[in-house]
């Protein structure tokens, strides 16, 4: 998975590595110093853009967070996103969406969705577009002040699956869609294709896989497919012998017709 994404992320300039290293440890003051110093050096345009991008990202983590800081980051990202098509421009577009979504005091979800959609339309396969996809799907599933019914929201979200390029992204989308179906109390059978698809993609970590196996078995039993329920209960029992649900799953298995 790491390699797959690293390939997608290919072409990134090395940039101000020490700044990014400091930022990875959330040493924001140090990162900002590094990025400012990098921007002042005579360097390639790509390196300067990378440093500017780093400065914008650092501002979103520097404590205490201020409105001015967020707006400064917005200005930086806006400039970068509109002045190129490189990875920095894509990352900047992603962060424009995130600022609108979460960083501003008053979220603007429509603006966030607009930025994410633009990124997807321009660079669908890029790592930033694929990252935006998992955020956009949530905005479709849980829209604000929308007249759309939960079923319509799920249907709209499901259309985004076509834009998921890698198994890991597809798996993630299936999981959040299934979760929304449960949350909205839609017929549980509607979640079954998503759960089965996520399981089949084999991208789940162990704890999530344990949950998904139980979910498939439970929903299969509820929707009249005891054979499938049995198969997944048994898979769960075999793969997770120390899970707390062993006793309950054995009871369920014994109760299957």
């Amino acid at each position: 998975m790491i390699f797959a994404w690293a390939n997608l992320a290919g072409g990134a300039e090395p940039g101000a590595t020490s700044g990014w290293q400091a930022l990875a440890r959330l040493k924001t003051d140090e990162a900002l110093r590094e990025f400012r110093a990098e921007a002042e050096k005579p360097a390639s345009d790509a390196a300067k853009r990378d440093a500017e991008f780093g400065r914008g990202v650092s501002l979103l983590a520097k404590q205490p967070m201020t409105t001015e800081q967020v707006e400064e980051a917005w200005t930086i990202f806006n400039g970068l996103a509109d002045s190129g098509t490189d990875e920095v421009a894509q990352g900047a577009r992603y962060f424009l969406g995130r600022i609108a979504q979460h960083h501003r005091e008053q979220p603007n979800l429509a603006e966030a969705a607009k930025q994410f959609r633009r990124l997807l339309s321009e660079q669908e396969s890029s790592i930033w577009a694929q990252t935006a996809l998992s955020r956009l799907v949530l905005l479709e599933l849980y829209p604000e002040r929308s007249a759309a019914s939960p079923g319509q929201c799920v249907a709209t979200a499901r259309k985004l699956l076509a834009q998921a390029r890698l198994p890991v992204a597809q798996s993630e989308l299936h999981l959040v869609i299934a979760d929304a179906i449960f949350y909205y109390r839609l017929p549980v059978g509607e979640a079954l294709p998503d759960l089965l698809a996520a399981e089949k993609l084999r991208q789940l970590d162990a704890p999530t896989r344990a949950d998904v196996l139980v979910q498939i078995a439970e929903v299969s039993a509820l929707t009249g497919d005891p054979a499938q329920a049995r198969k997944f209960y048994e898979t769960f029992l075999a793969e997770f012998p120390l899970d707390q649900r062993q006793y309950m799953v054995k009871q369920k298995l014994a109760g299957l017709k």
Binding site: I2, A61, R98, Q130, Y142, E172, L173, P207, D211
Partner: protein, 532 residues
């Protein structure tokens, strides 16, 4: 002149000797700069501190270039101390923390280093054992799937754990024999109530200060958790909307917000009745006391039973002047004449989950060495040393519990709906409100009804605070995660945290917001209707 030359020669010789000594000192193997790994914890029980020290000393023998410094900070001030250290950038490399203390969504991304890649690799200290070659995470009894080992929403492994715990009622075997003529503890809830009566009668006849349970504010917490969770089990399937056979924080918290459960729900109301009985069997004024007082009451023979975790077992063994036994709290089962209809059984001790978790400080200057020490602490050899000295239950496969700790091994064959309980509710605010108001249940004038009424009137305000804090922490978590994932991508090309982190957490964020808005609208409507 000769003297002058001799003086110069002596000086030159002296200088030369000093230079040689300095050079030898600088190049001697023992003078090599030692790395100091600092670890903090709050475990002052029994011989636990000595257990961790013993592992550290053995590690230093194996790794002479590393010194392990252990900081023990009492749990009463640990959280504040840890926060200060983290904010000030002076926190130790390895920090004990538990998500049960809350705010992990905010703490983890900001201060703690995920170790998902490292735990996928074998633990080199397991070489020559049956665990050789197995991924480090799979050497833990729970495969590091406990809430601190693996953060489901961040999708990352964080904290290796060193022990496993169970809750038990410890009892004074000698005193029990004196009171009942047998040293066998009660097996059912009715037998337990019978024992409470026997203790009251014994204390009255002997004119002795004696309660069935030695209780305190802290111990009440440990009693309330299994009682509400266990008694609520019958209701739990109704909240399991995602069909995982396990209740998540959101199913409980948003279930409260939606009115899917309250302390008037029959199962939970019965849980309160059981809790009231346990409180009334405790020494008067226990709510004002700390756990040390409860333990002292027990050790002095003023209480027959102490409800505690297996973590206290070694302290009790060391301090008690009598033989200590232990048994599980026998909650009412389906055969109980009063609570049977709303009871589910048997109930298990819960999942195989390990604890006492150590997080790697993101700002550690010696993260490799710190992680290496954790590898040793959680290896077959290291964990066996710890278990042998501390008398705690092991966290690692193949490590043998001592004869003493064996009796606390968990019971698994029963119902359990996960580590989130009704007592935890919407979070720490509602839980504290429960503890603050529980006094309304106890004593001759106390009643479950009085508590329920208070919970209905003021509980929503506390739940609201919890959910607001949860939303705030969640936003911090995924915003910080965005920043660090981007930095890692740019610095090293590692793209493992993108694009999947953490969409499920953000989904829960929007679900929580919707529920809070809906609750606010309902409250507004109700208030509007109530106005003339």
């Amino acid at each position: 002149m000769k003297l002058k030359h001799a003086g110069i020669a002596v000086l030159a010789l002296g200088y030369l000797a000093a230079a040689v000594l300095a050079w030898r000192h600088a190049h001697a193997p023992e003078a090599k700069q030692k790395v100091t790994v600092r670890l903090s914890h709050w475990q002052l029980e029994g011989t636990v501190r000595e257990g961790i020290e013993a592992v550290a000393r053995r590690y230093e023998q194996l790794n002479p270039d590393v010194k392990v410094e252990i900081l023990v900070v009492p749990d009463t001030i640990y959280r504040q101390w840890m926060r200060t250290q983290l904010v000030g950038g002076t926190a130790p490399d390895l920090i004990e923390y538990t998500m049960y203390w809350g705010r992990i969504e905010e703490l983890a991304p900001r201060y703690f280093q995920p170790i998902s890649r490292q735990v996928a690799q074998p633990n080199p200290y397991n070489k020559g054992t049956p665990l050789e070659g197995r991924a480090w995470r799979d050497t833990f009894l729970d495969n590091m799937t406990g809430p601190d080992g693996y953060n489901t929403l961040m999708r990352d492994y964080y904290a290796p754990t060193i022990a496993m715990f169970t809750m038990r009622l410890f009892y004074n075997r000698t005193l029990l024999r004196e009171i009942t003529g047998s040293d066998q503890p009660p097996q059912t809830w009715r037998e337990f109530l019978g024992l409470c009566e026997a203790v009251r009668a014994y204390a009255k006849a002997k004119e002795q200060t004696l309660s069935t349970i030695g209780n305190s504010w802290d111990n009440s917490w440990w009693i309330a958790e299994p009682v509400t969770h266990g008694m609520g089990s019958h209701h739990s399937p109704k909240l399991d909307h995602d069909h995982t056979l396990s209740l998540s924080y959101w199913e409980i918290a948003l279930g409260w917000e939606r009115g899917e459960w309250s302390y008037r729900t029959p199962e939970l109301a019965n849980g309160l009745k059981v809790f009231r009985e346990l409180g009334n069997a405790s020494q008067p004024g226990f709510i004002q006391m700390k756990r040390d007082v409860a333990m002292l009451d027990f050790l002095r023979g003023h209480a027959l039973i102490l409800c505690a975790g297996s973590w206290d077992a070694s302290s009790l063994r060391r301090e008690a002047p009598f033989e200590v036994g232990a048994f599980r709290l026998p909650l009412p089962d389906a055969a109980d004449p009063e609570f049977g209809k709303t009871s589910l059984g048997p109930l298990s001790d819960g999942s195989v989950q390990t604890g006492t978790s150590f997080y790697l400080n993101k700002a550690s200057a010696h993260s490799e060495e710190a992680l290496d020490f954790m590898r040793f602490l959680t290896s077959v050899e290291g964990n066996q040393i710890f278990v042998d000295v501390s008398q705690w239950l092991p966290a690692i496969r193949g490590v043998k519990p001592t004869e003493f700790s064996k009796r606390f091994l968990p019971f698994y064959d029963g119902y359990n709906w996960g580590s989130q309980s009704y007592f935890s509710g919407t979070g720490s605010e509602l839980r504290m409100f429960f503890l603050q108001e529980m006094h309304r249940m106890f004593g001759p004038n106390g009643s479950v009804e009085a508590f329920q009424k208070e919970m209905e009137t003021r509980g929503p305000e506390y739940a609201d605070r919890d959910l607001h804090a949860h939303l705030r922490d969640s936003r911090v978590a995924f915003n910080t995660d965005d920043v660090t994932a981007t930095a890692r991508l740019r610095a090293t090309g590692e793209a493992d945290r993108l694009p999947a982190s953490p969409a499920l957490l953000e989904g829960k964020y929007y679900q929580t917001r919707r529920e809070m808005e809906a609750a606010a609208q309902r409250a507004e409507k109700t208030n509007g209707e109530a106005k003339p």
